[in-house]
């Protein structure tokens, strides 16, 4: 029952990209605006009242036939509203107008003798979209909002339920048609020569339009062909709702449905062309857009030829660099300039270095900001690359692929390093050949004073700090600590040996990569000398954020089996297949959870709010972990992709457009949860 409720909820309200709804809106309304442009509805006002046989809607609500000038005015307004709905200008009002007037105008002809069924679902779609937020993206409204400084819409359930509801309405159309055939006439509809007769009958001009071809006669004359056609029709119609639930069968079913409509038009005559437009809601537009950006370089503005080499923008460095700084960034153009300035001011000597800003699908003017910095940079160390696939793992992997440096240091776009930060990294890697990766200190720059319950010891994780005073190794024997990619350098050999960051973890990619490192016998080192200041925004200092952070982190820990491989003492071990578990969770975690529950109760009784909240955050962690394990009892260990790590000798022939070979299977994965 709970699983069914969860499936129901996910079906309607799983967050979706605004593009899925917005582009479907654009195609749907744009197509209808073109289709109905030559149609005239006012002529129905001139049809004799003798033929007036009102359908339920018009009869029940006494909707009259207005005079021709009024219908003409309504028609003009409706067509304009279709157009403004398509481009997304005053979207909500436009679609509402489309719905109200569309219901009247499309319903009007059905009152004169016969109800056709090609536009009923369009009217339902109008009403569904009228109450949606279809204009949040890919619209004039969105452009205006952006120009006024508004943010980009995030993934939300608001962009899924309208799409799903339109598709459910469409599925009802097909299902009802198949169901009506089976229940009204049953198997004879398939087995008799009924379809053959029907194909002959339509040649006598008895439909709203004649068949486009007379192949129907040939089909009717071929033994068995008509029955096969009838069987296929009923099968496609009754099974059509499967497309809502089965990813594998979705494309075949939708294509079969489209084929059915086209077949009816070709062989039998009834006009359903505009009905096809509703199939725009089946298309996962956000994925199509991502694919276009990946495969069609012209989709982005062309780069000046001189700047197009060797890695997107920025030109070639003087020689093969020894160290590269890779900064993934997304929609932080306004905050990027201080970081770029500080990176270009690095005081380094004795080695070559470069900076690679990987724009992770930003919608703001990130590119302009970086280009401006590139123009200021006389040393040609700064480069820009664009990675359309959303996620820091993709961006970091692209950075690794695009550079040939022997050491790659990752820095977050909200960090500000010291002036000698890069020199310290280079010195550290020279001084510690035993370390495969070295992480530095991440210190806070508080946007607001931290709350009284906050302490670095207990709550540093959610605010992404790494502020320990002493150096320490991290390896198979000390695996509980995690070096943060906010300030972490790797030898290139690491990626050559174990691949890149797994794109399947929106959070905890660094821990997942490090677990693979320690398992492969590598080790890391924490040195406080390399210091980065990170601004801690107010949002990260709320109790709510901390609870969510612990729950989400536990989700990914459960998936990557972190707690199965690292014991309470921080030692990494092979998983014992016969380890004692309950609901897929190791028993020792229940003990740890119970200890926190006891601690929480004690703190609550003694009114120690700070201590109580500390225990509460841990309880969120264990609860989320156990719930995730109930769903994925064995976790989902997905390794990072093998990267096309560039040979340092091939420095001058890099790919112009970044393309990471994501070899990891995506089929095994659950929906990744946005952090």
């Amino acid at each position: 029952m709970r699983a069914a409720a969860r499936a129901w909820y996910r079906f309607w309200f799983r967050p979706a990209s605004p593009a899925d709804l917005a582009v479907a809106r654009l195609v749907f309304f744009g197509g209808l605006a073109l289709f109905y442009a030559p149609h005239r509805f006012a002529v129905w006002s001139e049809v004799t009242p003798a033929l007036w046989q009102p359908i339920w809607l018009f009869d029940r609500f006494d909707i009259p036939v207005f005079s021709a000038p009024i219908v003409l005015a309504l028609e003009i307004i409706w067509k304009l509203s279709l157009l403004t709905s398509a481009i997304g200008l005053m979207t909500t009002a436009s679609i509402a107008t489309s719905a109200v007037l569309g219901t009247y105008l499309l319903g009007l002809p059905h009152n004169f003798g016969q109800t056709y069924h090609f536009d009923a679902v369009l009217v339902l779609a109008f009403w569904i979209l009228a109450f949606s937020r279809a204009g949040d993206a890919w619209s004039v409204d969105a452009l205006i909002r952006t120009a006024r400084g508004g943010g980009r819409p995030k993934w939300s359930a608001e962009y899924r339920w309208p799409v799903q509801l339109v598709l459910v309405a469409l599925s009802f159309v097909f299902f009802a048609a198949g169901f009506a055939k089976l229940t009204r006439t049953g198997l004879p509809w398939i087995t008799s020569d009924h379809i053959a007769l029907l194909l002959y009958r339509v040649q006598y001009h008895i439909s709203d339009a004649d068949p486009l071809v007379n192949w129907g006669v040939a089909v009717a004359g071929t033994p068995g062909a008509a029955s096969l056609m009838a069987f296929t029709t009923v099968l496609v119609e009754t099974a059509y709702p499967i497309a809502l639930f089965s990813r594998r069968l979705r494309a075949p079913m939708v294509l079969a449905g489209i084929g059915l409509i086209i077949g009816i038009r070709l062989l039998m005559g009834p006009t359903f062309e505009h009905f096809l437009l509703i199939n725009a809601f089946w298309v996962p537009w956000s994925r199509v857009i991502r694919w276009m950006r990946r495969t069609v370089p012209e989709y982005r503005p062309a780069l000046p030829a001189a700047d197009a080499l060797p890695m997107a923008i920025g030109g070639a460095s003087k020689g093969a660099p020894d160290i590269a700084v890779v900064v993934p960034t997304c929609n932080r153009a306004a905050q990027l300039t201080p970081l770029l300035n500080r990176l270009l001011e690095q005081e380094c000597s004795g080695f070559e270095w470069e900076i690679l800003i990987v724009d992770n699908n930003s919608r703001d003017h990130t590119r302009d900001v970086v280009e401006a910095a590139i123009c200021r940079d006389g040393s040609r160390r700064l480069h820009y690359a664009f990675e359309p696939r959303q996620g820091p793992s993709y961006a970091r992997n692209t950075g690794v692929e695009l550079t040939s440096a022997k050491v790659i240091v990752f820095l977050d776009d909200d960090g500000i390093p010291g002036r000698t930060w890069l020199q310290a990294f280079m010195d550290a890697f020279d001084a510690h050949p035993e370390a495969d990766c070295i992480g530095g200190r991440v210190k806070p720059q508080w946007a607001a004073p931290p709350p009284e319950w906050y302490s670095n010891r207990q709550h540093a994780g959610p605010v992404a700090l790494q502020d320990r005073p002493n150096a320490a190794y991290v390896n198979v024997n000390h695996a509980s600590a995690c070096l943060l990619t906010a300030n972490l350098g790797f030898r290139r050999s690491v990626f050559e040996a174990i691949g890149g960051f797994s794109p399947h973890y929106f959070r905890g990619q660094d821990r997942e990569l490090e677990m693979r490192m320690w398992r492969a016998g590598m080790q890391g080192l924490y040195l406080p000398a390399m210091e980065v200041m990170v601004e801690v925004p107010r949002e990260r200092l709320t109790r709510r954020y901390h609870r969510q952070w612990h729950a989400t982190t536990a989700y990914y820990h459960a998936l990557m089996r972190y707690r199965d491989m690292v014991d309470v003492n921080g030692r990494m071990r092979d998983e014992a297949p016969d380890a004692r578990r309950l609901l897929g969770t190791p028993l020792f975690l229940y003990r740890a959870g119970l200890a926190h529950a006891t601690g929480w109760l004690r703190a609550a009784l003694m009114r120690r709010a700070v201590e109580r909240f500390y225990h509460e955050t841990r309880l969120w962690y264990y609860a989320s972990f156990i719930l995730t394990r109930c769903r994925y009892p064995k976790g989902l260990c997905v390794p990072g992709p093998a990267l096309r790590v560039r040979d340092r000798s091939t420095r001058d022939v890099p790919p112009v457009h970044p393309a990471v070979s994501a070899t990891a299977s995506t089929q095994l994965l659950p929906e990744t949860r946005a952090s």
Partner: protein
Amino acid sequence: MTPKRRIFAYVLIFGVILGSAYDIATRQEHWPFSDYPMFSTIHRATVLEWPRLFGVTADGSEVALVDHDYLWPLDQSRLPIGLRHLYRTEQDLPRVHAALEDCLARYERRRVAGRHDGPALRGIRLYMVAWDIQPYASNLDQPKARELIAEATLPASSPLDARAR
């Protein structure tokens, strides 16, 4: 998504689902909801009976009015079915008559306006026509039988009628 919006979404979701399911289960039509019964009726008879309009020209000959442009926006499905409903179900011949007069006036108006190139008509007749179904409708012009249901003619004083003559 706020709780209010979620409740609102649920209202729409259940509205669409229940509306569709109700019509399917009860075989009713509450447009835009429907049970989509198109083509679900089985046709076993090898004889096709269909109401058809014929125009009467000045010399008294008849032409079938099957061209889409003749009576637009009334087509060869909606108009015959609507007329059949009037004379067979409602048995309201005066309305059939009125409808035919409208069709004749519509035809002539469109002809005079150059919307189609059909011949001038002085009358219009509604027949129930029967054909033995044949491939490619090869006997379209030689129906097996036809029965006059109603007819209408232009009034003598009509300017359209004068043009027709």
